[in-house]
Subunit: 306 residues, 2 copies
């Protein structure tokens, strides 16, 4: 099945305790598209960049089978730029620079050839723009998943609530789930958030794995035990790409299959953090992915008879 | 198989955001003995109390099938007493009172009828006393597990290292694992700690579950999602009791069976936190335990084919 991905395609400059980068390719949609490209049959990208965005980075996406017909290039403008610095524990970071540039008035256009996309992943963006994408899909997709962040909870809560009400799966982290629901217990938070609309909720807990809620069930996926995280940038987007990519590949939205999709999401994210930016996820083999999935299975599966 | 349990049998006074207790029965060995009594065939208790310890609390242990021949009663002395107050997040507590009393010069005596115990659980105590128990076992047990805490790392590190080197399984929490190893990454910490002697290591992560390391494998057991924790006192000891009790019941020390034992430990601990002190674990049915184990299975198991 084909997958429509929307989000930022951008430049990042990253500083971690292990080093720093110049401007490298980044943005939620970049990570989602690359990650999902290993799984989904077709990835349709909707995004916007400026004239400063290198043609070879667009070609990189195309080489991964990503359709870039929906990637607007505004020749006279500049691409979105984010720069951040991670603290020593890698769990927190300071944003040094945010230049919206082309994202400031991004009006997403969905090419006719994308209209039959069965799966949609709304990467982190203004909830207003995310909602426009849903409204501009002529055929109702089988499943719409959405990422967001605390920034939108702070400044656009009403818009955000409207968009959340329209999606099937919301993917956020534990801090965001607590802020969105006003509840500390993730169980109570999940109940409140699903009452806002989404039938399924994924709460990412970083080094403690991820939780999938829905159909009155819960699934707890572990995280791999890493000796070190080199750069966490994009890990959440890469998770989302692996999750939705697996659903699009298998075309099965049952809870059992979503559990498997969470493992694929976690697998892709575990690669992402091994190098700077998207470096590690541009060149993965199926056998690398499969053996990493097997690691997740070995980590958590038990034979037991009661 | 029979299980020898050593640790404190004591009075606790607990204050949580939900209320406070007078002196109630507490102590590591109390929780371990009660918890394991649902699983192990025979539980042999080695501990010491003062003349102030109520006969009905000793009878409570006996009613759970716990052999109290090794429970010394020092009529003219007072029982160990601990009082603590939990903060609002339940993740930290202040110790208000610690009165060692009979524990100050506890000399563990192992009755002849306990000498054939195949499994041994050394509850949190001075590492010196824990080691005496190992040395006083005339027959080498099949498996010795040990709990400890940061307090002993601070004041008796050398003694502690000697005792750790003699056990098969060490059971500690994430903070303690980091302190013991000097490593932040739990994976690196585990490698260092197992190099100190234990073939297996369990790291408890509270609301994030537990990790079992050994034989170059790792198992990650989730925690149940609780809406609230009423009182965490004794949860770690109750975990240890469920873990070692299951091993003693099944008499199987393979890694696969230890994974199941971690689920039983987590199950028993999940009951413990539901009420004050040991209140919830004095009266459990097999069907309650089985259905809670099933919840852990449902939370974490996935069918997948690669």
């Amino acid at each position: 099945m084909s997958l429509l991905v929307i989000g930022s395609v951008a430049f990042d400059a990253i500083e971690t305790p292990f080093g720093k980068t110049d401007k490298i390719i980044g943005g939620a949609a970049t990570y989602i598209a690359l990650s999902s490209s290993y799984l989904a049959n077709k990835v349709n990208l909707v995004a916007v960049v400026g004239g400063d965005f290198p043609k070879e980075d667009i070609k990189l996406l195309q080489d991964h089978g990503v359709d870039t017909e929906g990637l607007q290039v505004k020749e006279d403008e500049k691409s979105f730029f984010w720069s951040g610095k991670y603290h020593n524990d890698m769990n927190s970071r300071d944003t040094l620079v945010t230049e919206l540039n082309v994202l400031a008035d991004f009006d997403p256009v969905i090419p006719a050839s994308y209209q039959s996309s069965e799966y949609v992943m709304l990467g982190n963006l203004s909830p207003d723009v995310q909602r426009k994408v849903i409204e501009r899909m002529e055929n109702k997709p089988k499943l719409i998943a959405m990422d967001t962040m605390n920034f939108w909870m702070d400044i656009a809560r009403e818009e955000l609530d409207k968009t959340i009400a329209m999606v099937d799966v919301l993917i956020i982290n534990d801090e965001e789930a607590r802020q969105l629901s006003g509840e500390y217990s993730l169980k109570t938070a999940a109940t409140k958030i699903m009452a806002m609309g989404p039938k399924y909720l994924i709460i990412k807990k970083g080094e403690h794995g991820a939780l999938l809620f829905g159909e009155d069930k819960v699934y707890c996926c572990p995280a791999l035990l890493l000796e070190s995280v080199f750069d966490p940038t994009g890990a959440g987007d890469t998770f989302a790409g692996g999750f939705i990519g697996y659903l699009a590949k298998t075309d099965d939205t049952s809870f059992s299959n979503m559990k498997r999709a969470v493992i694929y999401g976690s697998t892709m994210a575990s690669f992402c953090v091994e190098k700077f930016g998207a470096e590690r996820i541009v060149n993965l083999s199926d056998s690398e992915i499969n053996s990493r999935v097997q690691e997740f299975i070995d980590l958590s599966q038990v034979k037991i008879s009661l």
